[in-house]
């Protein structure tokens, strides 16, 4: 089984977010980057499937050289090789175009990725890739088993779950608890150094130009009102917050 796992290189959730160049660029100084948490689950499931069925796991990242630390970590977790498309991932369509281009050169049985990245959170890349390759895409997949050429999945839907089956090849957006959380082990870390990491140039060009970023408005101060002073609370909500 050939599996392609697409990963994002995103700021750690605790990173301090700020912008530079007239608020047109994200300030990367001092920011710790991690593999997107949903992508982590996709990779972990891919490694488990490889262990069960044999085959290979290739990691794909659309990103600049700074992504390589996170890519090496994915190799340490158990991927066999990696491809980096050397460009800034400016928008979902552009990223999907790169993935589809790479995927079209090999016959992957599964193309897995997180249900969404945690920086821009568009959650549409898997759908776009499926459309570009002309194969089905499903998301968010929380359980995945392979039986012959068929994938048996559980998908989260509004207010519940849905069990579905589909023939391979497929593009899937993944989320927990699709796999056991995995950490790189020492042998993995040692072997990651020698696993192939191919760098390729992008096709096409991004359609999006960022005009301006802005941080959310700071949270207002909290006022504590004693439970026995409900009238005061109503007064504040009417006259100060003006929400009543």
């Amino acid at each position: 089984m050939k599996i392609l796992v697409c990963i994002t290189n995103v700021p750690d959730t605790t990173a301090k977010i700020s912008f530079i160049d007239g608020d047109t660029k994200f300030n990367k100084t001092g920011v710790q980057y991690i593999c997107g948490p949903y992508d982590d689950y996709a990779l972990s499931r891919a490694v488990e499937l490889k262990e069960q069925h044999g085959g290979t796991v290739t990691v794909l990242n659309v990103g600049e050289a700074e992504s390589e630390q996170v890519i090496r970590k994915c190799l340490a977790i158990g991927a066999d090789d990696a491809i980096r498309v050397n460009t800034e991932p400016t928008d979902s369509y552009f990223v999907a175009e790169q993935i589809a281009h790479i995927a079209s050169q090999e016959n992957y049985d599964l193309i897995l990725m997180g249900r969404e990245s945690i920086d821009f959170n568009s959650g549409v890349v898997h759908g776009l890739v499926g459309e570009m390759l002309g194969i089905p895409s499903l998301s968010p997949v929380m359980k995945l088993e392979i039986d012959g050429g068929v994938a048996k999945m559980t998908r989260e839907i509004e207010g519940g779950k849905e069990d579905v089956e589909a023939s391979l090849p497929l593009v899937l957006g993944c989320q927990e608890p699709i796999a056991e959380w995995k950490i790189p082990n020492m042998r993995g870390i040692m072997s990651a150094r020698t696993k192939p990491l191919k760098v390729v140039e992008p096709v096409g060009s991004g359609l999006t130009i960022t005009e301006k970023y802005a941080l959310p408005a700071p949270k207002g101060a909290v006022k504590m009102i004693p439970a026995e002073e409900a009238e005061k609370l109503i007064d504040l909500l009417k006259n100060e917050a003006k929400v009543l």
Partner: protein
């Protein structure tokens, strides 16, 4: 819960101060690239975040229980051991041929720091297992290695060190546990061991005890002590470890802190059926055990430091959020209360904590770096021999100062919380209980102080302090190149002179032949020695920071980081280094007040 450590500071120590990447030039570490060290720390962070930290408080409240002769521990211990075994972290620093990956000890120290700051009690299980497996690999037969150590490094089984007996704590020469030779080459072990950390539990199928005992007819004192592997279960005829090896959990101690790790009273051979396997040669047990003890001593110094680190960050977060009173310059009661971090006395307490934590990291990481350099250069290399000499001297200081000052730092952290710090609503009371053991574990402060003054500074004609002082002077000379550091370099140079003067005075007392008078205030000497060597580490960090400011022109958070380093270094010199005045005064004072006269003892 607040963060427990600064990854930025660990990176600073590893990459900028000690230049860990340069270790990869040596054959022993040649399979590494610096980015792989980052991955090791990332793995430690994941284990700490996902398994250890969430269980920190609960495993304190639900402490281990001894039920029907079997100890049950918090279930998260098993998850932790599995993660550590699966990740290969238990044996990461071991040689390739012993199932290890030859990871630099320096990187492993940072790895342990991250885990220990999250849950200092869980780290005990892996520390003991790694230390005992390493001991078997170093001195045990191939058979013992394959039978026991190979199953310990995967965390399938765990390990302990069994030294202390009811009548032999600090005085190991009084160990009375016996080993009777059997016809098949094994020994029957009989005796009692107390305070055995992780001595019993329900998270592994077997526990491998490393036991100090006397073979019948062995000489008195430490020269008659041998080392044995004594498993909880021994092998049956089929090679399965199913036979109860007569190691009985006689009691469990109800401790002040570190409650997630059971401390056991174990009885060996009550039914005359406890089989032990000799490690190495007879009567060399204590010598072998020193490998594990020295590893554990640095580990205890680390314990004092990483608990102090967790306490510091908790106190810092609290001080930034807790409004109380107004600044002393503001008499207007209509104004909102200010956060307590704005009060000078709170800032003093917080800066003290930071100075202790980061200074102790410097001291400990220096020792780990020396060890890595010995591995890198080879123990026959002259430079490596010098590092070994300094390491032998400083291990005792790097155990004791961080343990003692870790306690003080956590205490200040608790004080920042005021009354809340004394409650279970915040983790400081637990940290204060946890850290208290560090000045007792692996040789009390008193014992280590006797060792430092009685042996360390005098061995080989005082070669170790000579080498160390020369290293300190290298830093002093570098610091003098920077105007901002010059006064601090001069201060440290002066203190080095003071330490030499005190040392010569004490050696003069030794020459008079009364060891009790000579060693009566060894603990104060240890404190003096510790303060001055931590000041050296701070000056070293100051030099690296000032170089970064001058050469790299950092901005924003990076500039603030380096400026903060310089500020904390200054604090250490102005608030801590000056304590040498009173310590030296006492040590030079000839009035003897604590030594018993012969007639009083009689």
């Amino acid at each position: 819960m607040a963060q427990q450590y600064s990854r930025r500071n660990l990176d600073f120590m590893l990459k900028e101060v000690l230049k860990v990447g340069e270790l990869t030039q040596y054959p022993h570490f040649q399979d590494y690239t610096p980015d792989m060290f980052d991955m090791v720390l990332d793995t430690a962070e994941e284990i700490a975040d996902k398994i250890m930290r969430p269980a920190y408080v609960e495993s304190d409240r639900k402490q281990p229980e001894l039920i029907n002769g079997q100890v049950k521990v918090h279930p998260a211990v098993k998850d932790y051991m599995k993660a550590m075994g699966d990740s290969g972290m238990i044996s990461a620093t071991f040689h390739y041929e012993h199932g290890g990956q030859q990871l630099p000890l320096l990187v492993n120290a940072a790895n342990e720091f991250i885990r220990g700051a999250a849950h200092n009690s869980f780290v005990m299980f892996t520390g003991l297992t790694a230390g005992s497996a390493h001991l078997i690999y170093s001195f045990g037969s191939k058979e013992l290695q394959e039978k026991f150590a190979d199953r310990m490094i995967t965390a399938e089984w765990t390990g302990t060190m069994c030294l202390t007996e009811p009548q032999a704590g600090s005085s190991l020469s009084d160990v009375v546990t016996t080993a009777s030779p059997q016809a098949d080459g094994t020994y029957k072990i009989k005796g009692q061991k107390v305070f055995i950390s992780a001595g019993d539990h329900d998270i592994a199928d077997n526990i491998i005890h490393l036991v100090l005992a006397r073979i019948e007819g062995a000489p008195l004192g430490t020269k008659g002590i041998s080392l044995f592997v004594v498993p909880k279960f021994r092998a049956d005829d089929a090679g399965n470890y199913t036979i109860d090896n007569d190691v009985v959990s006689t009691g469990i101690y109800h401790k002040m802190g570190q409650k997630a790790t059971p401390a056991m009273h174990l009885t060996f051979g009550d039914k005359d059926n406890s089989v032990g396997y000799l490690v190495g040669e007879a009567n060399r047990g204590l010598q072998y055990m020193f490998q594990m003890m020295n590893e554990a001593r640095l580990g205890v110094g680390m314990g004092g430091t990483y608990i102090a680190s967790a306490a510091y960050y908790a106190a810092l977060e609290y001080a930034q959020e807790r409004p109380q009173g107004r600044r002393l310059t503001n008499k207007n009661l209509v104004d909102s209360q200010t956060f307590i971090i704005n009060h000078p006395d709170v800032r003093r307490m917080l800066t003290f904590q930071k100075a202790i934590v980061e200074g102790c990291i410097g001291l400990l990481f220096q020792c780990y770096w020396w060890q890595d350099m010995i591995h890198g250069l080879g123990s026959d290399n002259e430079e490596a021999k010098a590092y070994q000499t300094m390491l032998d001297l400083m291990t005792t200081v790097a155990k004791t100062y961080p343990a003692e000052y870790g306690i003080k730092a956590v205490n200040e952290g608790l004080q920042v919380f005021g009354g809340y710090g004394y409650t279970e609503d915040f983790p400081l009371e637990q940290m204060a209980r946890d850290v208290r053991i560090m000045s007792i574990y692996e040789g009390t402060t008193g014992i280590h102080s006797l060792n430092l003054l009685g042996r360390g500074v005098t061995a080989n004609g005082g070669k170790a302090p000579q080498l160390l002082f020369a290293e300190v002077m290298k830093t002093v000379i570098e610091a003098k190149n920077h105007e901002v550091l010059l006064p601090y370099a001069e201060k440290l140079e002066k203190e080095l002179g003071r330490l030499q003067k005190v040392t010569m005075h004490l050696l003069g007392l030794a020459a008079q032949g009364n060891n009790e008078v000579f060693l009566a205030d060894a603990t104060l000497y240890m404190e003096l020695f510790g303060i001055i060597t931590v000041a050296w580490q701070w000056l070293k960090q100051g030099v690296v920071s000032q170089n970064a400011i001058e050469q790299s022109a950092p901005t924003g958070d990076e500039l603030a980081f380096y400026q903060d380093k310089i500020h904390t270094m200054k604090f250490y010199f102005h608030y801590e280094l000056i304590k040498t005045l009173s310590l030296a005064a006492r040590l030079l004072d000839t009035e003897v007040l604590t030594v018993l006269h012969e007639e009083v003892e009689a």
